[in-house]
Amino acid sequence: MITWLEAIGMRVERVCLLAGIYPMLLLQVIQRLYRPPWFFSHILSQCEKVGVQSLPVVLLTAIFTGMVLALQSWVGFHRFGAESMVSTVVSLSMVRELGPVLVGLMVAGRVGASFAAELGTMRVSEQIDALWTLSTDPLRYLVMPRIIAVTLMMPLLVVLADAIGIFGGYLVSTIVLDQNPQVYIERATLFLELQDLYSGLLKALVFGGIIGLISCTEGFYCKGGAQGVGQATTRAVVLSAMSILIADYFLTVWIFQ
């Protein structure tokens, strides 16, 4: 009786400890934001890795999503003669929802995995300890630039993904579905409000923070050898993806209110 109660207690304690390291790391990073050094060159190089190097995968995802969305919504709207609303659906869906979520998932897979694997490898090969002995704060040098970079780059990637997604819908509507290009452009912007764009960008900012925090925490506190790095990387991607979807719901509810 006591044994399984103990086992449950230990599990609960472990989950609480694991859950506690995310806010702890976030707090430590925030504390460091106010004092130099900020390692601007590192932030820039991470921005390049997160932003520029993610462009192909993000844009490819966005254009095909926009194209599929146009086709699918045309099928529905065609049934009651509202084909001209295709572009409205594509633009609203991309800007409010699909842009931030899909870019978030893509960046979680590409960048989150890379952060966790890099930091995890540095941890198990004692490179993080070496930084400390070289009078350098590892959180400031490694973690802070990564979290800042992914948080700043996500909104930019989302803006581009939104534009390319809407363009994908335009291609399908005009070439495949033979719609009037002028009508597509008009309807795409007619019902799109600035608040839609803001809500998408806010989501992108939050998702960027989530990816940075989870993947850096998993890598930074990684234990064990190659297996530990593998597990940290997997956890980083899965937890980031799940957290993005959960946060998306709550942000949407909040924005609706």
């Binding site: 490898t121 090969s125 004692e126 490179q127 300890d129 070496a130 400390w132 002995t133 009078s135 704060d137």
Partner: protein, 260 residues
Amino acid sequence: MSDPQIQVCHLNKQFGDKIILRDVNLKVMPGESHIIVGLSGTGKSVLLKCILGLLQADSGQILVDGEDWSCLSEREKLKRMRGIGMVFQGSALFDSLPVWENVAFVLLRQGMQKKEAREHAEEVLEKVGLPHVCDKMPAELSGGMAKRVGLARAICHRPRIIFYDEPLSGLDPVMSDVITRLMRQLHEEMQVTSLTIAHNMKLVRDFGDHVSMLYQGRIHLQTPASQLDLQDDPIFRQFVEGRASGPLDINHLTAQGSQI
């Protein structure tokens, strides 16, 4: 007699219910080369990490130059690290930086111009016998070369104390001798204090001034290196002679080590 440069007082550390260090007391005098020996899993590296602040001790004091490091904030500890050099067991070179930037890491962080820092790095690399590897990446180096680059990185900013964590592990006997000679030469040239974790008795004899044996989490024995062979403690003798049979509780240590 001068004060110890490093002093560890009543240090305790445990992971979960495993006690790793119990009431460890240690003194390292200025300019001394002190070596800590002991079987794998006895807590030697944990002791070193506690001294360096990489691990938080559960209780006890760590005094460096008379200052209690266990009371310092992270920021203050980082500042004190400028006087410290550390050679890691696996070299721990930064994969993403070329050799010279690894070596001159602290200098570059302190704001030195790249050209000047590179010249310093080249000088130090020449000291460790690797004048032509400046632009190589760490992945291109052999184990022995990486160890020497690690040593160059540890001494480039002229520290007062150098810590070595098993500096000869994974090296062949010839390369081990090269590194040992280099350590001795640098120790004498720079007049630094050294604290080394080692298994290798040849390193202990060639490099150590003073030896402490860590056993079951405690300092079991301390002796000047010159009197190694005069010690008649059976546990110490078994370790020095490298015998499998004897009073050393090998099973207990191995089980504890695997937990760490």
